[in-house]
């Protein structure tokens, strides 16, 4: 499994093909927007009955990543559960599975807008986390620096050889990193959306998920590349 290595505020980080972030120096794995229990929440609220396998699928991915990087600390960057009731209402086998996964790891739940409070699942519950030079929170704050967040589920399109390929992506500039959504049942927000292009700097790049992840200039980044093309 090849990752994409980069430096943010002096921290050497690796974007993994799955959408997780690895910080080797801190033996830490960061994932955002797991949205566990999404099918259950939609059904509970009277929506459609989606295939109830997304929690299993997401935990499978997470387990594979934790083992691959031998993580000591797992940091879930918010919206880990589709809502707080979903966190309490995981079916027994899935709750057991999560407990086994948590055992032996320093596990941190950061609050998200979907899960704005502690759950009964153990681990540490925090509104935000500072680790070394970096701050971790669910939603990026305009003007912050050395910040790692999630929330927006960024994705990007690339046209290559006559095909258009859309992929989830990390967004990265000098000041911040935004993680893609990790959960199985998650959609994406195109990174040329004003909500994202307004946050990221002119030099931002999007790291498309895949094995290996591939960096491109962030589509929609301010003042890129029109002026560049015209000056050529």
């Amino acid at each position: 499994m090849a990752g994409y290595d980069f430096i943010l505020a002096g921290a050497a980080l690796t974007a993994l093909p799955s959408g997780a972030l690895h910080w080797p120096e801190q033996a830490t794995l960061v994932v955002s927007d797991l949205h566990l229990g999404k099918a259950e929440r939609i059904a509970r609220r009277g929506g459609t009955l989606l295939p109830p396998y997304e929690t299993t699928e997401t935990l499978n991915r997470l387990e594979a990543d934790i083992e691959a990087v031998a993580a000591g600390c797992v940091l879930c960057l918010g919206d880990s559960f589709d809502d707080l009731e979903a966190a309490g209402g995981l079916p027994q086998d899935e709750a057991d599975r999560l407990a086994r996964l948590m055992a032996g790891h320093h596990w941190i739940w950061v609050e998200g807008n979907h899960d704005p409070g502690p759950t009964e699942l153990g681990g540490t519950h925090l509104a935000r986390v500072r680790l070394g030079p970096l701050s971790f929170r669910h939603i990026a704050q305009p003007g912050a620096s050395a910040e790692v967040s999630g929330h927006y589920h960024p994705k990007a399109r690339i046209a290559a050889g006559g095909r258009r390929i859309a992929a989830r992506c990390f967004l990265l500039d000098a000041a911040r990193l935004i993680l893609p959504a990790y959960g199985a049942y998650t959609g994406g927000l195109h990174c040329d959306d004003p909500a994202l292009s307004g946050l990221m700097g002119a030099d931002a790049r999007a790291v498309l998920l895949g094995d290996p992840p591939r960096p491109i200039p962030m589509p929609g980044a301010q003042s890129r590349p029109v002026s560049f093309r015209e000056s050529r």
């Binding site: 895949g210 591939r214 960096p215």
Partner: protein, 801 residues
């Protein structure tokens, strides 16, 4: 005028009209449980359908709804209302007629439920909505008759399946209901009769005089058709000449994109400024209405159109129909020809324009078939279960139901007459709990069972969502196209989201016959400016590409298998003779496979004559098998009659490649991870209610909250491969886009008789395939390399790497 009650006989006489024998017969059969009238356009078909109702209502004693009329087109419902209102007014009959479609204002719809008219004109979707209301029994219990218009078109689609389920429900509410189907000429009237019958009762067929044989020929042009392609642009001058010589000409095309290109070319050649319009399903409603109105007012000399004008309003002034491109099915050709000359006793006049050299052969075969009145068509098979699931929820919205009673009711519908109880129960399980094998969700269900065993909605408020999601037409994701700075103005039309995303500012494309320049995307609207005189990049419109029918393909094969071709134009006969010298011609009951080297690639051409979709699937399966055999295939292209594959290594033994077991195994492996399956899944899952539609207004907010249906498909394949939705998807794909049935048919027909010709260079018959668009590259690894190269280029360009 015998047989007609006084006011009617008088009315016919006052207009100087004869009652057609089939109109009289339909009246005589008024009490039959179901009858199907097959009549050509212009034969007074609609009046024949309504006469029994008008006669029965003339005494003025009936209260409430008497007759329901259902048409596949909203516009037709409104048109019929106008046409019925006239005789009713002139005979001073005490009959109220109203239409009800998606365009009817909410206030009137509410009033129609409280106080229904005697005759209600509507569409399958509006009817489905009506029967979902709790007061449906009150509205429908006194109803006497139902008239199904253009039922041949409905019988080919899920809209028809849904309609037949709705009729079963109506039959339960109004047991004495009589059914009347009105159909254009079809190959198998018995199949339509079975479709509309109230099973196990029968449906009788009444055949009107088909009228005189059509006057139909191939259009002669100065230059021969090109070797490949599908637009028919070479024939623009000859077509324009025909337009000049007729009052009104309909110019049919097989795809919207081709219609756009042709219209543009026609417009450039139209120096004298003849009024010519364009009409297709991607144009805005306003644009289409304008063209229709101009047509009705006889202001247009020609309309370039697609299947959007296959049905609908009768335009008496059309005296010529031109079909550009091979008609693909004889039946559709005959129906299109019928769009000209709606006077009953005059022959329809039509011209065929083959778009390329091979289509000359296909057009010739189709002309012969029309002359022999040998129509084609494939049986549709049992009704799909995604529609069944939707209808079950509609029934639940109306009120609690007993499963056994509902099952019996469903089996009265033609498409579901052979539905088994286990198949029904599977749908019920899906509707109630989602039907997931690995997890029983007793905590949350959509349907619950009462103490008395009846099923009801767990949450009655969900009836609203069910109603919002009614319908079996699945829209592609499209974006409106508007002129910049005209935000209030009417949109020009729609393009697919995928096409819009591929545009960069400055690109130009055709829409509604204009060349426009893409300026940008603003709040999900494609903004454009007008651009004059530039060669456009053409809009890619989706839509199913119709495959040439089995029967027409066989005719083409028989036509090729002749000593010589006096009936074909010289240029085409010469081409076939050359093929015979260099290679050989495809023959019925055999499979021709040609191998030849070209530009360092080993080419293989397989003449399966299985229709476009099956030939496409064949390409995917064969390349998969060639990959396994180490032949390193690079790509392929498919047409209705052949698939051309290029590879690094030459093919030595085609017989091995076509082994049935090997083909079936390749299919299994390929189906699981396939874009066609995902597209089919999305449609079926939306109809069945697993996915809710993107409703208007719900689109802008929180796009990251919605996720692709592909994810659901992948999840089911991985964790619940036996799930009902996957079964339905497979059934649908097999008869639709994958069309594996026709590959099996071809293998049966050929039964191992493979003629493998090794030529030194490209053969005459294979050459046009080299020019075809729509090449499919096949390597997954190649795609990864492309992305890598493009990513690096972008990074360098932006100075980031």
């Amino acid at each position: 005028m015998s047989g007609l009650p006084a006011p009617f006989a008088g009315w016919f006489a006052s207009r100087g009209w004869q009652v057609h024998p089939h109109q009289r017969e339909m009246l005589a059969r008024a009490e039959a449980p179901a009858s199907l009238l097959i009549a050509p356009t212009g034969g007074g078909k609609t009046l024949a359908g309504f006469l029994p109702s008008l006669v029965d209502l003339a005494h003025g004693r009936h209260r409430g709804l008497h007759t329901l009329y259902i048409s596949p087109l909203k516009a037709l419902a409104a048109d019929i209302r106008r046409n019925l209102t006239r005789p009713i007014a002139e005979m001073d009959l005490p009959i109220r007629v109203e239409d009800r479609t998606g365009d009817t204002p909410q206030s009137r719809r509410r009033r129609q439920r409280a106080d229904p008219p005697h005759i209600l004109l509507t569409t399958p979707e509006s009817l489905a909505l009506l029967i979902s209301y709790e007061d449906a029994p009150r509205i429908f219990s006194g109803m006497k008759r139902v008239v199904l218009d253009e039922v041949h078109a409905l019988a080919e689609s899920k809209r028809g399946d849904q309609l037949m389920l709705a009729l079963s429900r109506l039959q339960t509410l109004a047991p004495g209901l009589r059914r009347t189907g009105l159909s254009a000429t079809v190959e198998d009237p018995e199949a339509i009769a079975r479709f509309i019958a109230d099973h196990p009762a029968r449906c009788d067929i009444v055949r009107a005089d088909p009228g005189p044989a059509p006057d139909i020929a191939m259009l002669e042009t100065a230059e021969p058709p090109p070797w490949a392609g599908g637009g028919g642009r070479y024939a623009v001058e000859a077509v324009l000449d025909q337009v000049r010589r007729h009052r009104t000409t309909l110019i049919f095309h097989n795809t919207r994109a081709q219609a756009e290109i042709f219209f543009h070319a026609l417009w450039l050649a139209n120096t004298e400024g003849l009024p010519i319009g364009i009409h297709h399903g991607s144009l805005s409603l306003e644009a289409r209405r304008k063209v229709e109105a101009a047509m009705v007012a006889s202001e247009l000399r020609a309309i370039v159109c697609t299947g959007s004008l296959d049905l609908g309003i009768d335009w008496g002034d059309v005296d010529l129909v031109i079909q550009v491109g091979a008609p693909k099915t004889v039946k559709r050709l005959v129906q299109r020809i019928g769009r000209s000359n709606h006077r009953y006793n005059a022959p329809s006049k039509a011209l065929l324009v083959p778009a390329n050299r091979f289509e000359v052969v296909e057009c010739r075969a189709a002309l012969d078939a029309v002359r022999e009145n040998d129509l084609d068509g494939a049986p549709r098979g049992p009704g799909p279960r995604d529609v069944l699931c939707q209808h079950m929820m509609i029934c639940a919205a109306a009120g609690p139901f007993d499963a056994g009673t509902l099952y019996a009711e469903f089996r009265r519908a033609g498409p579901y007459a052979a539905l088994t109880r286990p198949a029904f129960d599977e749908c019920l399980e899906f509707c109630a709990t989602g039907g997931y094998a690995l997890r029983a969700y007793d905590r949350w269900q959509r349907l619950m069972q009462d103490a008395d065993g009846r099923w009801r909605l767990r949450d009655p408020r969900r009836a609203r969502d069910i109603r919002m999601n009614i319908g079996t037409i699945i829209d592609q994701d499209t974006l409106k196209v508007r002129l910049r700075n005209r935000r209030g103005g009417a949109p020009l039309g729609e393009v697919e989201e995928a096409f819009a995303a591929s545009l960069t500012p400055g690109d130009s494309f055709l829409i509604g016959g204009q060349v426009v320049r893409y300026e940008g995307l603003r709040e999900m609207v494609v903004e454009v400016t007008r651009q004059v005189g530039r060669e456009p990049k053409v809009a890619v419109f989706m839509g199913v590409k119709l495959a040439t029918s089995t029967q027409l393909s066989e005719r083409v094969l028989r036509l090729l298998d002749q000593p010589d071709w006096p009936a074909l134009p010289a240029h085409t006969a010469d081409w076939l003779r050359r093929q015979r010298e260099i290679s050989r011609l495809p023959a019925p009951g055999r499979l021709l496979v040609e191998s030849f080297p070209r530009e360092g690639r080993a080419h293989t051409c397989v003449y399966g004559f299985a229709g476009r979709n099956a030939q496409q699937t064949l390409g995917l399966l064969l390349t998969r098998r060639m990959e396994e055999a180490g032949l390193a295939p690079l790509g392929f292209v498919a047409t209705d009659y052949a698939t051309l594959i290029w590879a690094l290594e030459p093919l030595e033994n085609p017989a091995q490649l076509f082994s049935r077991a090997g083909m079936a195994a390749a299919l299994e492996g390929w189906l699981a991870s396939n874009a066609v399956m995902k597209r089919t899944f999305r449609a079926s899952a939306t109809i069945a209610g697993l996915i809710e539609r993107n409703l208007p207004g719900g689109r802008k907010s929180g796009r990251q909250a919605t996720f692709s249906s592909d994810i659901l498909y992948d999840t089911l394949v991985k964790y619940d491969p036996g799930h009902l939705m996957l079964k339905i998807t497979r059934e649908e794909a097999m008869r639709g886009l994958v069309d594996f049935g026709r590959i099996e048919e071809m293998l049966d027909r050929v039964a191992g008789r493979i003629d493998h010709v090794r030529a030194r260079h490209v053969t005459p018959l294979a050459a046009p395939l080299l020019l075809e668009v729509g090449r499919v590259p096949i390597s997954g690894a190649a795609e990864a390399r492309l992305v890598e190269a493009e990513a690096q280029r972008l990074m360098r360009e932006a100075g980031l790497a």
